[in-house]
Symmetry: C2
Subunit: 413 residues, 2 copies
Amino acid sequence: MLGRSSLISVEAAQHLLLDHVQCVGETELVALEDALDRIVAVAIAAPEDLPSHPRSTMDGYAVVAADTFGASESMPCYLPIQGEVFMGEMPKQVLSRGSCMRIATGGLLPDGADSVVMFEHTVPVDDSLIEIVKSVGKGANIINRGDDIESGSIALPAGRRLLPQDLGLLAGLGITRVEVYRKIRFGIISTGDEIVAYDSRPEPGKVRNINSITLAGQARRLGVEINDYGIVADQQESFFPAIEEAVAHNDVVAFSGGSSVGTRDLGEQAVAMLGSPGVLIHGVALKPGKPILIGLHDATPLFGLPGHPVSAMVCFDLFVAPAMQKLMGYKEQSLKSGPSVDAVLGRNIASAPGRKDIVRVQLRFSEGFMQAYPVLGKSGSISTLSRAHGYIVIEEALQGLTAETPVKVYLYQ
Amino acid sequence: MLGRSSLISVEAAQHLLLDHVQCVGETELVALEDALDRIVAVAIAAPEDLPSHPRSTMDGYAVVAADTFGASESMPCYLPIQGEVFMGEMPKQVLSRGSCMRIATGGLLPDGADSVVMFEHTVPVDDSLIEIVKSVGKGANIINRGDDIESGSIALPAGRRLLPQDLGLLAGLGITRVEVYRKIRFGIISTGDEIVAYDSRPEPGKVRNINSITLAGQARRLGVEINDYGIVADQQESFFPAIEEAVAHNDVVAFSGGSSVGTRDLGEQAVAMLGSPGVLIHGVALKPGKPILIGLHDATPLFGLPGHPVSAMVCFDLFVAPAMQKLMGYKEQSLKSGPSVDAVLGRNIASAPGRKDIVRVQLRFSEGFMQAYPVLGKSGSISTLSRAHGYIVIEEALQGLTAETPVKVYLYQ
């Protein structure tokens, strides 16, 4: 276990965690219309050439390129119109040398033709003859069989999250079902003597459960299924069985701890109780988020998140989300990171060296610059997150950042 | 109608379109757990102060700040421990001057106390006495009633897309349902003599329908409901009724055209047939995407998108998506734009002045730079979109960009 006495760095903690996490492996076949954002489990090879026949990529005339040789504005060449290629049909004739056929974008190139002259480079003489004012090379303005993708080549690699255009590529190839990794399940437990359901009126001293809904929202964004175990009392006889239940039915489990020292120890005991490998990390050089607990039961990552909503969300972004993406089957090098914008700091921010600081900022565009201002607010106040546009990172080696320093702002979205 | 003879610029077309589009206006009440990414219809005021009582933000001892005056490592002050504040409970005693009470983070500040000394600045003498080695000011390490958000103030404005942290803020305030704009519906029609369903084997000259599934995927990403009307023949007797049906049941409609000139004219006739305001734009100075048709029937935007999958997707991003966001109730200034990264061009790219070019690029990190290379591929080839990481924009005034030019790459995600 790392981090208890001397805090482990965020990067070291992330590496240690991800070294222990593996893709769930199980796959399922889904229809193309249900496959958006799912992760390809087995590389998909093209079953045929796309396009299956040479086609025109322009509106114009199918020709033999050599017949246009030397054509120019001052020295046009003349070709009789042999006929027309109709959209969606096989051309009925073979193009004769010295003539041309009308063709629209997407039309099948007739046998005999090797290129297309754009309409814009022709002048109609009458219904049966055109003037060509610019020569074309062989292959001009056509797409050959297999130019988009060749039969047998890899259309999409394993580990690819399916984008709209990927579904389009598969549709173009006639692939109607995809083998993807199954969705992963996230068990969420909220604990702490002071926590009550958010639809109740708390007695003095109690607060409503915020973390279950924020963590669920963050996970839903990744396409993860949620099992919300509600609020569990932070006594061993309630908490241990809840954790066991959650671990048995989920691929990743988080409990957001009460703030008391007793609850923190209880989380560690619970993770240890579940057996090997047990607790990996307890405490990271991070603000907010320092008291995070990371463990593993068999292949299931377990996260003890701080009770503060802001800290819990930061820990989710830095640790839970990357673990989920690896469980889901993302290739490690393509772990999705959110969008960011460049800005300059609007004022000085102090920070203690030796830990990574995550500072919530608002963006203001003024004097031609995107400026980032820290959002003021007490620790644990959830409204600061709604008022922030994103956050910046102050690295461990620094004692803060001065105004006008260029920063990268990771956007909340 | 703009754009037919002299092409309209992308920006002018966007402004003209958005000037004609309005939020659907209709709202619905949804439970908090279903409200992620929905758009707030009516500003939400805090019904109570958060927190409802002053609380400690640290583990430590509740004190009267004046009692710690002058305390330091060399001159500590001593305070007897009067008792403990238990988590989730109202403190049972009023703190007496000259004493302290144990308190954990989140604990309710006892009456009489005005600040908290962190554990780290105390040394236990015995079970009933502590030594304080650093003085605190009044209000130190506590959050006062209403410090997070005050009763009556605006917690979330209208037009806000609900982020996970916003749901947390509402949960903290005990708000269990939110009035949001209803979801919008997107009708998709694919047309063209050469288009067949993607689960069929096309005869020579036909191609599988790609656009319906890519456009649906792009719209789903925005939280839009899809009505897919399949493939409609590009004859007036099939096409006009299909458009009428789609307009009657959707908030926004797109048909992706066959490539033939006849189909293009048919789209324009259909939009004109529906009546005022009719066709707004036909043709934009954009590559790919030039032949886009934009019209309006009453308040319903209609888009005639190019048949090429790549062009159709580009037009969706530049025109359909912003219109959808305005229909959905996004405030115009917060129209969501995707993530981008900065890169330098890996090689020269030519472009014609007078139009905006959208160039698909791959990113490679080499020699310490993120470099963007155009993805080579014939016009209309869908595989280029799967191979690209994103796209760059070459503005109208330019004749291209030279290698090593800094560019912003808008990421496909």
